[in-house]
């Protein structure tokens, strides 16, 4: 187990290094490089710019700059926002809760509904339900998230008035119920794609398990069908889903960005777009790197959890 852990950890470190190289390349792609904010000031002469570049070490070879940048990132210095001079990590931290809340609740919805559809599709294979679930999942994967959000707002807040059309809470009302009321529609919108993905995987994972010997044994022992399903089939079918949950992280984050924009949800995605609008590159870069780190970390955790639950992987 220890060897597996160390091995996996080592792979993640390598991956993070490559991620950081990609990030650094993008950083240097931007017009004006890290000096972009100063170039906006009409009082700056070329001589001033050169002096600044020298002060900030931008005239050094790129590999040296990269290592310097990497070291500072590791020490928690991700630069400061052009917009309000606050350290990037603090800005991200301020918006993290809203995003995690949205992602968390939509993941819960997706897992609950997706698991149910997947299992029912597998146990009632080629039934009307299974067929509609298959087609439905493909259509759901084709609907642009933001458009689904717009339709949701139009129907459920503008026409029916059941839920608010945006924001995370009503100003002056910080109650949990108020948060939940605002949370319902965006989390359902965000979960659509994941319900589709999750139910497809759950269906094939259940089909993989459902005819194996241990399930037949459980049936032969005279357990009720329900008990066989819940205890023996679902438990084993859910295992590979842990890996899937890790793999889905980037797409959920991307979906969150779009959902937050439509619902004026004060999370990281909105922050990203606002920062793009203000050319606030340190924050843009910070969020880009942060989301990649989050994904690598998520995959690592998923692998470790699955190795703890499933002894076959540890040995293999």
């Amino acid at each position: 187990m220890l060897v597996f852990l160390l091995n996996r950890l080592w792979q993640s470190v390598i991956l993070l290094l490559i991620v950081s190289i990609i990030g650094f390349t993008i950083l240097n792609l931007m017009p004006g490089g890290p000096l972009a904010q100063f170039a906006l000031d009409p009082g700056m002469t070329q001589a001033d710019m050169d002096r600044l570049a020298e002060q900030m070490g931008l005239n050094r070879p790129l590999p040296v700059q990269y290592f310097d940048w990497l070291m500072r990132m590791l020490q928690g210095d991700w630069g400061t926002s052009f917009r309000d001079g606050v350290p990037v990590l603090d800005v991200i931290g301020r918006h993290l809760f809203a995003t995690l809340l949205l992602m968390g609740s939509s993941t819960v919805i997706a897992i609950a509904i997706g698991t149910w559809i997947g299992i029912r599709g597998a146990t009632h294979r080629y039934s009307m339900f299974d067929y509609s679930a298959t087609v439905g999942a493909m259509v759901a994967l084709s609907i642009p998230t933001f458009w689904f959000g717009l339709v949701g707002i139009y129907v459920f807040s503008l026409r029916l008035g059941w839920v608010p059309a945006g924001n995370m809470y009503t100003i002056g009302d910080g109650s949990v119920l108020n948060y939940l009321h605002h949370l319902i529609l965006p989390s359902i919108v965000l979960s659509l794609v994941n319900v589709a993905v999750w139910s497809r995987y759950m269906r094939s994972a259940t089909l993989d398990v459902i005819n194996q010997d241990f399930v037949k044994t459980a049936r032969a022992k005279g357990l009720t069908e329900r008990r066989v399903l819940m205890k023996h089939v679902v438990g084993n079918a859910l295992l590979p889903m842990i890996t899937l949950a890790g793999m889905q992280l980037p797409s959920i984050l991307g979906g969150a960005l779009v959902t937050e924009t439509v619902f004026t949800w004060p999370g990281m995605g909105r922050l990203f777009l606002d920062s793009l609008g203000y050319s606030d590159y340190p924050v843009v870069m910070g969020i880009l790197m942060f989301s990649a780190f989050l994904t690598v970390l998520g995959n690592l955790i998923a692998d470790v959890v699955i190795a703890m639950v499933d002894p076959r992987i540890r040995l293999g």
């Binding site: 259509v139 609907i143 497809r200």
Partner: protein, 292 residues
Amino acid sequence: MSTIPLSEPRSRWWHSRAVRRFARHRLALIGVVMITALTLACVAGPWLLPYDQLYIDLRARFAPPMTGQHYLGTDPLGRDIAARLLMAGRTSLLVGVCAMVLSTLLGAFVGVVAGYRGGWVGASLMRMVDAFLAFPSIFLVLALAALLKPSPTMITIIIALTSWMEVARIVEAEVRSLREREFVQAGRMLGLSRSHIMFREILPNAMGPIIVAATLTVARAILLEAYVSFLGYGIQPPLPSWGNMLNGAQQYLASAPWLAIVPGITITMAVTSFNFIGDGLRDALDVRSGPG
């Protein structure tokens, strides 16, 4: 697994098993019909409609669908939505298909090299694939589109740069499993060059999975273009695209919902068609299925 067609007797391609299976796949046929109709409409439609997509009629702003000859209504400037929708379709479909071609070429190249060379080269290439997959693609596309001045060509390249990884993974796995087969060893014994073996001998055997992945990549690319254009960093007006037609739709949602509904349904139709076709191809070409 795809077969090696060398020893099979030559027969017409439309008699092949794959074509017959595809023709039996109802969803795939629906997809083909939908996307053909949509493409024809986008190519020929703008000439048949009474209005030009750029003609501004301020007296007919916010006309709901089916007023006069504005079959799908007008936008906030009084431009005909049907005309804009079809012109936008040309842009969006073209961006989607071109991005697919670019990303498939790139992904197949990386996949073949990584799978055939293996070892140090293969491992580092595949770590690169993993690293790109760690970024949410929308974030990456937005950041690049904001940094590099967006033109339709640039958007296509950016989308391709963020969607080649899937193909690379599929091809790498496929090539790795074929690398030690007899026909490859025979090729080596004959003294064929490495690139000849990689691209002329092995790659054709991975065509099935590549075609399936490429079809699904078109769907993905159309969606990505819609996302970035909706957010204002993709195709720039006045050139219409399905994404940027939705750009201002949210503020008029209560008074003019058709502004949002019409392009949204069109995007969904186009993307669904490609997903259906991809599913049909997966069955027809006997590609081991991933999800579902």
